[in-house]
Amino acid sequence: MNIKVEIVIGFLGSGKTSFINSMLQGEEIQNEIIVVIQDEFGNCEIDSDLNNEKQQREIRVIKNDGDKEINADYIKKIIKEYIPDRIFIEVNGMKNSNNIINIFNEKSIKKICKIDDIISIIDVIKFPMYFRNMKSIVSTYIFNSETIILNNVHALKKKEFSRVQKEIKNINETANILKHVTIINKREPKEEEYVELEKHKSFLFTPFLYLGILVFILSYLSTLSMVDINTYNNYLDKFKKFYNVFISILIQGFPFILIGSFVSAIIQICISRDRFIKLFPKNIFLSCIVAALAGLLFPICDCGTIPVARGLMKRKVPIAAGVTFMLAAPIVNPISIVATIYAFQGMKSVVIYRVIAGIIIAISVGLIMQFCTRKDEDILNSSEEIGECECGFCNDNYEENTSKLKKVRAVFVHAGDEFFNIGKFMIIGTFLSSIFQTTVSLNNSMYIPNDDRSSLLIMIGLAFLLSVCSTSDAFIAKGFLKQFSINSVMGFLVVGPMLDVKNTIMLFGSFKKKFVLKLIFIILLVSFGVLINCKLA
């Protein structure tokens, strides 16, 4: 026997009870014994008169007066007492929805009942206020729910409504979102309906689109092989070239992303927030310098720094320090310094200049970002993680004395999450940059401006498009020395590690759009300003 459990979550007055009432009237659940557990009392009462209708069904309403906690034993007792077919549990949004859901993951309970649906009821008018003030609570239950009902939609302007909708989508993309509509009908003045907002067409459509493209390419190649061996070989060669570049960047990028993810996971789990803040000096400027030099200790290149910076910012390290670390680490990392020394043998000034300019730009961009960003502004793109963690480590006030194994496990699971989060953007970025690397052809006949400014811009643009790893770009840059002045090649060396296609896509994936746009703009502005003024003989 499987008892279906419906969990209805929402704040006081969001319309939970009305929703349950309308569910109880539904055709679907006739002839069932139903138990409604109310964890709180609102203005609305369950229509118990539904009991008296001709159908053979029974509705029991249990009010939990607050002194008893809903737990596994409690549920078992109810099941024993009433032998229901279906249980509705009405939960106040202020309670931790994870606890309730976890009850039904316990073995003894799992045998007899299963969660049929988790429904959140949201009053769209109050939503922005709740979301601002109790973000973690709200996002937890939105994240957990499979169906989201929006109430009071008509009272909101279209623009605001779409913003709310976007906010919800951000947290939980897979849930069905329904809105509550009152149909004004003359006979029955209050017929209510819940209308699905958006069918998940895209949910099925996009993977098919990707697969379709893939199948198309494969079939294209195979038909070519039938038709003409030569053209086929030609295409295959091009593809192989692309494949080689793409796969090799992935092979060497994944380990670095993993290292970055582990560092970020360890920061999150093993170091408590207070202790961590102490590591950074109080003075913002000093902490920036620390952050810039921290790159010396982490031999990771540009792919690995983004997860670390994300982890730092999650731990509420000042933005300035986080940004500085993210920008400076690829340049000051030991491997890339050695590579630069090697590529520019006998031109020590290039190496020194690269490191110093890198640090200066990183720090100033960090400081500018700090002052440009409001204190409470939310810069992380926190779509996935919120609410997902039951590990207890993600809360700020976790207990220190949890077992070692649990900690290690949490580190690995978090690193895995981070890896999947960042990895997908890294793959897209790599894909694009390998296309650029295999197709962009630079003829020597290309127009090469004599003007310092425009050639610097060209170099910066090339660095952006090619997105070579910071450990090897010195060798590529050396090739440009023939056509460009050393000053503009500097642009390639300094801006390349901070900003490129791969990086940008990863940034957009992990930070808010506004923040990234601002960051890119400031990086370009500052580095252009610094580089144009420094003359290297």
Partner: protein
Amino acid sequence: MKKLNIENIIKILILLGFSLFYFRIIVNNEIIKYVHPRIVPFVVLGMIAMVIIALFLIKDSFYSKKKKFKIKNYIIFIIPLIMIFFMQSTSAESTTITSSDINANTGSNITSNSNLNNVSTNNTNQDNNSNNGSTFDLYGGKTETDGQGISDKKELDIKDNVINVNSKNFVFSLDEILDNPDKYVGREIEITGFVYKDKTLKENEFIVGRFIMVCCAADLQIAGLGCEGTNLEDYPNDTWIKIKGKIKNDTSDGTADPVIVVEHMEKDLNPDTSYVYPF
């Protein structure tokens, strides 16, 4: 009733897929075709980490809190995996085709690579039509040669007054010779590599080179020494050769560039085609 957490299972499959691929290329040592040996320890580390993450995820995969999940996120990870397995199978096929095909195949493959990595003139020059008249400034051709290399202690491999250059000491020898062109004038040299010709070189000139890798296959470049020889028609691009010759200084464009005057040249039938790594 146990319900599998599909999302977790896909994650596990992706992680295992990648670590399997890593494992495979590490075992057949194919990995040095893709990345610099310096990165290999990181790759091993990454492989182990992925397996461990997958193991930890297995524990969670027997119940699911959510019915639906976004497959979109994972399609992106699956695409490279599909590409890998597709390419691995085709490259296996190409070796099983008839022997005449192999030549054509590998030849064209290398060509495409060398096109991509035109000697340090320009690393992304795909079509190779560099029109400037200057001779090749090969990798390591320093603009300032103050002799301050990082490897002063090493010595060239000189036997019976012949400088021996193979894949092991290729980069160092190249640096040393290019750095001190005057010191080695008139010395005999033996070198293996492949033929690289393009339009900027004269009829009787070619470059004996090897691919050098700094970080990964994305930055492969050709490094080599300029040579002068005869009967070059017999040696098309990308043939592996053994050369014996004397070093001379070519001062035609103002700077001194060491060039090998070929005395003896033969095809290397069993070449050591491995890439070379500068550090």
